[in-house]
Symmetry: C2
């Protein structure tokens, strides 16, 4: 990875003085992961442990006529078979914010175990608890469920029709958002250039290596403790509500998570494990099969996007009119929020005076859709950046010219009304990828054409401001000067925990190898919020920074007093307490501090910016804390005989603010780009009348290392972010541009615009054929 520095004038901290931050330290979890010894959620066997599995609906829409567990229960080794009626609070209510003109949340109802009817293929109906995994399989088959099939709806546009079968009683519209900035209709009428397009994205799975899994047990003091693969230890509150017990009686531990990507933001195994423990009092393990994971865990929303973009003849944007229709599947989950992200970012990282957005999320009898890396802000890039690319082509501008001309800057307002308060370096990200790209490749074979595309994106980091996000950290010196940091962040593979250690080591002047980070424990590490929304480095990083800074200051205050040195001269560094005389080794200094009765511990809470909740008609001073931008560049080769797209070269540059650990940043950028390339080219959950046909990784094709190009990550360090040392978040941003980048490159290569994901060979060939019938070949457009 290349790390490129920011402009001096905006750097909030002087990088040259950083000792630990910015060093590409091997992550503390690296060795064990390479050795395969990381103990993931289910890698724990407890004495007398039971096993549990869900019986799931085989139909996408049906009334449950009969659910008979008698035969299953009579099987030797079966301990319990639970139905919805056995769940203390089987109804779960999900917030659906902003759907009325007053700021008041709607609630959508869901069930832990379905009782009256099922709404999607794979919906949980019964929970089998048994002495062994072998018994489970047998018992599952003995649970007798009789269905009466009901008509379903499998297309979001049809679902909006008056006569469509209702997925939920109160209608199929889950949520809608409107943005009206300026007057897009009039501006479009008057615009000399208008580009129109329709785009479709697909059902995408998170496809992490570690499936949904966990172990739970009744621990000391009657606390039900759930060690689960999750991004959100705060679900202890939801579990408490389902079980009807005080929140203090539920503890969720997230050990290292083998991939989350949003798929472990909603609960998966947690309530079922907790129910089984509550019922049996024994330890319980649950591990979903890959098929279950693909079948029934929430997916990325497929979206239908309709863009109209108006511009002046010089390429200056004057209007964007955007319609978004998202298939949210059969349950609400986080659908309304995903759609909000789409709405706020749909116009891209550009200045545009007139923007209209109409976004709807619609129930169908498809698997539920919810959070996935990019969280709604990803899908719209495929539309927005196709428009920008086509606009450039129409005006014979290079893709970088059009973007530079319209790039949003600090002080501008987004269509939603939020002012950008940190420097936005879109132009620099374009510079970086163009500079690094080098000459365009030559086709490797005669029937191949090559092309280059770029695409940019705008992605928030940090949660919606009305959620009043906080993160807390508790840090302490041990007597020997080593440091223990506790912060409830789940480490979902992004190096979340290790980065916090690096921040603390920087502030406290100690060797990072002497800092331990305890993370992901809802009861015994301070709550740090969700490992979602590209928020942990920003929120928990700031919490760790705040706690460490306070610890440093109170330590130095005390040493100054005890040793009679001028406070101003003192600092913490590798020598211990430095300045004002001979360095005082840290253990000795801490002895002085303790002698004054000053604690070696600090618990600190960082508060993100707070704002008011939004209404359906979005217009807010602030929706997110901040944003970051990035630009990707792809060189592709399209085989015109087979339709195969080969990505030859791939570059991704993002403003990361500050690369706390460049290795982790590189991992996030390369991983996000790779995931985006998978979405662009091969990945899709295939459904037929609501039946999920995707049973495993033979059908669901994620790119392997051999399928992928070398991805070059470029971390632009503006130093201007709101995180510690000027960092921005980087977890989600890199997944935004790949599909658009590749589509733009394909357009460049073969003159054809692909508008539907994934861009399979079949679709490439079909597009080539359609183009041949309708359009005369056009001159190869000017690439960057």
């Amino acid at each position: 990875m290349t790390t490129v520095g920011g402009r001096d004038e905006v750097q909030r901290s002087d990088a040259s003085q950083l000792r630990v931050v910015g060093r590409p330290l091997p992550r503390t979890d690296a060795a064990e992961k390479i050795a395969g010894s990381t103990r993931y959620a289910a890698d724990l066997a407890l004495p007398a442990m039971l096993h549990t599995r869900l019986v799931r609906s085989t139909l996408p829409s049906a009334r449950l006529v009969r659910r008979d567990t008698a035969r299953a229960r009579s099987l030797a080794g079966v301990v319990a078979v639970l139905l919805g009626e056995d769940v203390p609070h089987n109804e779960v209510w999900v917030d659906v914010p902003g759907q009325q003109t007053e700021v008041r949340a709607l609630k959508a109802r869901s069930q832990v175990l379905a009782t009256g009817r099922v709404r999607y293929h794979g919906q949980p109906i019964a929970l089998v608890v048994a002495e062994s995994e072998d018994v489970l399989a047998e018992a599952e088959a003995l649970v007798d469920v009789e269905y009466e099939e009901l008509p379903g709806v499998f297309d979001p546009e049809e679902a909006l029709g008056e006569e469509a079968p209702r997925v939920h009683e109160d209608g199929n519209l889950l949520a809608e958002w409107h943005i009206d900035s300026g007057d897009a209709a009039t501006a479009l009428e008057r615009a000399p250039i208008v580009i129109e397009g329709q785009y479709r994205t697909q059902f995408v799975d998170h496809a992490y290596l570690e499936p949904e899994a966990g172990v739970a047990w009744l621990d000391d003091d009657g606390v039900i403790t759930i060690r689960a693969s999750t991004q959100v230890v705060e679900h202890f509150r939801d579990i408490a509500a389902i079980l009807g017990v005080p929140q203090a009686r539920i503890r969720v531990i997230a050990p290292y998570v083998g991939g989350g990507f949003g798929g472990k933001e909603d609960m998966t195994v947690e309530p079922y494990l907790a129910l089984a423990v509550l019922r049996t009092g024994r330890p319980v393990r649950m591990v979903w099969t890959r098929q279950e994971s693909l079948l029934a865990r929430p997916k990325r929303h497929p979206m239908r996007l309709r863009y109209r973009t108006g511009a002046e003849n010089d390429g200056t944007l004057v209007a964007q009119d955007i319609e978004i229709l998202a298939d949210t599947g059969a349950e609400a989950y986080l659908g309304a929020l995903v759609l909000l992200y789409s709405s706020v970012t749909a116009a891209g990282p550009y200045r545009c005076p007139n923007v209209r957005v109409r976004a709807r999320a619609v129930y169908t009898n498809h698997p539920p859709c919810s959070a996935m890396r990019g969280f709604g802000a990803m899908q719209v890039v495929f539309g927005c950046e196709a428009q920008i690319d086509e606009l450039a082509r129409r005006l014979q501008l290079t893709p970088d010219e059009i973007r530079r001309r319209n790039a949003i800057r600090e002080g501008d307002r987004l269509p939603v009304g939020q002012q950008i308060v940190t420097p936005i370096w879109l132009g620099e990200t374009i510079d970086q990828v163009l500079r690094a790209a080098g000459p365009r490749p030559e086709p490797s074979r005669p029937h191949c054409r090559v092309g280059r595309g770029i695409a940019s994106n705008l992605q928030p980091y940090g949660r919606l401001v009305w959620l009043q996000d906080t993160a807390a950290a508790w840090i302490g010196f041990q007597f020997d000067g080593s440091v223990t940091l506790r912060c409830g962040v789940p480490d979902i593979g992004g190096g979340q925990a290790a980065s916090l250690g690096q921040i603390a080591a920087e502030v406290l002047g100690v060797d990072p190898a002497r800092v331990t980070v305890h993370f992901g424990d809802s009861a015994r590490t301070p709550l740090a919020g969700t490992s979602t929304a590209t928020r942990q480095l920003y929120m928990s990083g700031n919490a760790a920074h705040l706690a460490a800074t306070r610890l440093r200051d109170q330590t130095l205050d005390a040493v100054a007093e005890a040793a009679g040195r001028a406070r101003g001269a003192l600092r913490l560094g590798p020598g211990g307490v430095e300045g004002g005389g001979e360095p005082i080794a840290l253990p000795r200094a801490l002895e002085l501090v303790r002698g004054l009765g000053v604690p070696l511990e600090v618990l600190a809470t960082f508060h993100g910016p707070r704002g008011r909740a939004v209404a359906r008609d979005l217009a807010a001073e602030r929706v997110f804390p901040d944003f970051t931008v990035g630009t990707h560049l792809a060189d592709v080769e399209v085989d015109c005989d087979t339709g195969q797209i080969r990505v030859v070269r791939y570059l991704a540059c993002h403003d990361v603010g500050r690369a706390i650990n460049p290795q982790s940043v590189s991992g996030q950028i390369c991983g996000g780009a790779a995931m985006g390339i998978g979405s662009a080219l091969t990945e899709e959950i295939v459904l037929e009348s609501g039946i999920n046909l995707t049973a495993g990784f033979f059908q669901y094709r994620i790119p392997t290392a051999l399928d992928l190009p070398d991805i070059e990550a470029i971390a632009l360090e503006s130093g201007a972010g709101m995180g510690p040392f000027g960092a921005r978040g980087i977890g989600e941003p890199p997944i935004g541009p790949p599909a658009a980048t590749i589509a733009n490159a394909v357009r460049d290569a073969i003159g054809v615009r692909l508008t539907e994901l994934p861009m399979t060979p079949e679709r490439v060939l079909a597009a080539i054929r359609a183009q041949a019938h309708t359009d005369p070949p056009r001159p190869a457009p000017t690439g960057p």
Copy 2:
């Protein structure tokens, strides 16, 4: 149990307003303990877990000529056999405070695994690590140790001789303490009455149900985590020193402990578990057999006591001259501190202007002696209270008269120089037992004689002030108003955790069932210090009280602001926030608090009183934070044919300050008295030339429920202690008086003074016979 109230003038809090404190709540751990489902330290199986066992010395004093592990290592299933040379830091240095005139600590050396020589029977020499417990036993036998026997010393007086074999190179005197208050020699010369006596106590084992045990593994971020049966999670520092790793890399978790009594104050399995994990990287379990536990874990110091007590003719004490010789066994451990407790309390709860104490702890080739409930303050009661009893007899005073006349009071100074700063209600404790005792029993058979005795004691609570004791607690409201308290106290069966919950519930106005206490985790619960020294209710109770009070105050401040109510009117109670209008339910009130950005969490540290370290010649303004007193009464029946002592009735009254949970207080008083009765009558570790002959509970006879009388506990609530709500500590005090109480009752019954523990039938018969030869029968003395 009877709870009797304190005098109003000294009650620090108004008990009538207490809602939760003082309620005999069933302990949160009660149900699981009764069901047998409590998961003790070793009740955890981890995948790929190894098992480990120590090879121990078969001789009490020998040079290790050869230690050959080759055969053991070649056995299938043996993973490693470690010797002292394999331990990164095999030498352990133990503080021996105050042994020089300057305030400087001596250090005594010990070894994790013996290399050059062994000093006691059972000393660890090698550590075998194997795949199964079966393999362990076989491998242990294959470790080839060749000894060259060395002369040993098995008597503390002999050990002080010039020619005695040296247990350690620097001589056999581990520690000595002197107290010289006034001029005891002159006062004794002038005293009209002088009582003299010599007394002996024995080697006593803690005999807890749960043996030394634990499981350890390498957890997230490379932290070696040790789940062990321990009273001291802070040993993580000692383990780090042995392993040569930063303290932050070691975590000790103490789950519910099945009895500690001081025997788990020093490390037991911890360093061996940690070494095995460090060596193998795999989870490891270690459980000591009962024989190992009896053989080689530190015991209660046997002491030889020599008392001379001088009094005026009216019974007023004028002088005490006390010599104490303690057999500290072969290793230092906490021997110097145990002896310090003996020295400070040897003169009992009495005013005496002239006191001389000479106390020595001496190495022998016996098993090491260290902490046990009472911690040196127990043994001396047997001497002191025999003297007081004999003095009363000589003067024809009742036992209560003599004690009331000399009872120490608030404002008095102990011989060591410490002023008593809280009310001392010795007279009330005597009143209570006499009032409850009723008439003396009649002998059940003709050859039996009955007698009544009482004895009082003085016991500190809280650690030595120069240790600058602290305890921290971290408390938080959950959104639903339930409360999570984290406090690193190990719960060793005394209900330490549950009491903290009760304190927090009182302060925060919530139902105690909605308070969860997370305890005993050195990394993830704030360090609360050792569960020793009768300090947890005082220290951690105050920490919990402080944290809860701050949380309450900041919550009410915020609610006042958010709801526009007068702060002074607000309080937390069952209705939530009460006062100044309609009650605001807690969840709603907490929403208001969060809305203002006020955290729902507090981390607070309580500091005990601090003082200067002591020198060998003890003279200090303060040695302990405070003391408490108690009085026991026993009616015994002695069978003059068999020598059997039967305790017919037993009463124990202590000033507990405040009974936070009367059930727990009763448990402590009854348990302590029962343990003291065991020590008085039957318990003894038997050694023959350093060979420990006590292999199990057939030889080591602890009293069963059938052996014990009903013990009536009387909790005197002075409300005057330094703990929360005026509580004092009660963990150790009840073990002090029983031996003296019974000895005094036996003296009353048969006119014979027993001076050696345990008071077995053989000793009773021998004493009766000796008395018959030397002394004319004396009139039955006046009992209380």
